[in-house]
Amino acid sequence: MTQDPMSPSPHALARGIFGALALFAVWELAARLFDLPSYILPAVSEILARFWTARAVLGEAAAYTLGEALAGYLLGGAIGVGLALAVTLVPPLRKVIVPAATAVNSVPVVAFSPLILLWFGMGVSSKIVMVAVAVSFTMFVSALAGFDRVDERSVNLMRSFGASRAAILWKLRLPTALPLILSGMRLSTVRSLIVAIVTEMLGAYGGLGWVIYQAVIVIDFVQVWAAIFVASVASLGFFAVVSLLERRLVFWR
């Protein structure tokens, strides 16, 4: 066989960096060549420079948003996994919870935003709730698929050892579901940040979304892009951390 195009090459990282640099180069060139005003597309160099000059504001905002995203992410993860657990432990619940969760998930989260802003105020709690709503469904679906994947024969083996429901859950179901739970968590990282930012744009006291909103008002698009860059870096970092955690925890593949 010739080399498998599916497996990663040894140059994967270099190529990724090359791709990013190439994009930046084209972007910079386009911005300069066509002399684009910043309200259409600011040059990358300009954005990176702002990265530095506005580092205090951006850093604080990023910490604020990451805090919200992380809290909502954990809460949503707990809710999603908890619901999946409930459905697994009390099978009749499945018929109620699965369709309800599907219906709720079919509504775009932004549609809930006015209600959630109303119920939970403009502070961090509304962001946390929004992120939790967005994350919990993904986690519910992933965890449920994970719990369902448990081999009935393994359950029977545990029962033959005299294991209780709780012991089976703790020693068998949870570890079996872990790979799917973690891949759901990996997917949810990017989403949690986006939802936090978007909710901040609808009303907040701080955070990257708030910075973006303010910057749009004063037509400062360099600031908007700088905030987006920060968000992207934060997302990638969050993604990488969870991926690392995943590789650590699911060492058996």
Binding site: R159, S160, W252
Partner: protein, 265 residues
């Protein structure tokens, strides 16, 4: 093997029906302490169902009699009383060899450190010396089976149920495992009920071979195996072996013909 002793397991008129399907129909079976009983029968005849009942996982139909260590019991009372090894190894991927082996002790509430120490001592006997910290995905098929067997052995119950423990292995590896199992069994002297599809294996291992009928399963034939132990590889070509094999094969063929009808198969 003193046949006069009271049987450890005694089943009478044991039946089991799943909705429309009758899986077992009047199984009569007695196993003496220390005996190695092998069970063969066509696919789908109810062998695993029988084991599930004896392991306490399913209740038999009303009217069935299930006696264990001299007492009449409900199947569920046997949960935790019998060491059961299902058809595949079913190792937990996130536990290493030692921790897979001590799983039943952990569930019993034993001290973890002590259980680990005990398992560590048993490793060489199971040909797993030096593999304590390996995870299932780092083991070969034969080694995984041995870990599963070790787990079953660590759950020290007088009766062991082994459901096609070597079903997934190739013929050569299987031969090695059989010899090794006899070694270990002879040392530990436990009572074994062993399901297999392979008649050679049934004769090679068993003190007694049971042939089950096609579904609904019952005991069609029961044969003592009067071959000397320890048994070597050349046994399979001995005349006694061959004549017993012939008899068993004929019985099985008769039953499996009922299963492998021209269209049903």
């Amino acid at each position: 093997m003193t046949p006069a002793e009271e049987p450890i397991l005694d089943l009478r008129r044991l039946s089991k029906t799943f909705g429309e399907v009758q899986a077992l129909n009047g199984v009569d079976l007695a196993v003496q302490p220390g005996e190695f009983v092998t069970v063969v029968g066509p696919s789908g005849c109810g062998k695993s169902t029988l084991f599930n009942i004896v392991a306490g996982l399913e209740e038999p139909d009303a009217g069935s009699v299930l006696r264990f260590e001299g007492q009449s019991v409900h199947a569920r009372q046997l949960l935790g009383q019998v060491s059961f090894m299902p058809q595949r190894d079913l190792l937990l991927a996130w536990r290493n060899v030692i921790d897979n082996a001590i799983l039943p002790l952990e569930i019993e509430g034993a001290n973890k450190a002590e259980a680990r120490a005990e398992a560590q001592r048993m490793l060489p006997e199971f040909g797993l010396a030096g593999f304590a910290d390996k995870y299932p995905h780092e083991l070969s098929g034969g080694m995984r089976q041995r870990v599963a067997l070790m787990r079953t052995f660590m759950f020290k119950r007088d009766l062991m149920l082994l459901d096609e423990p070597f079903g997934a292995l190739d013929a050569l590896t299987r031969t090695m495992m059989q010899r090794w199992l006899l070694d270990v069994w002879q040392k530990h002297k436990r009572t074994v009920l062993f399901i297999t599809h392979d008649v050679d294996e049934a004769i090679f291992l068993g003190d007694k071979v049971l042939v089950m009928t096609a579904r609904p399963g019952a005991i069609k034939l029961s044969r003592k195996v009067d071959l000397p132990r320890p048994r070597g590889a050349d046994l399979v070509t001995s005349p006694e072996f061959i004549s017993l094999k012939r008899e068993l094969l004929d019985a099985i063929e008769e039953e499996s013909m009922k299963t492998f009808g021209p269209a049903s198969h």
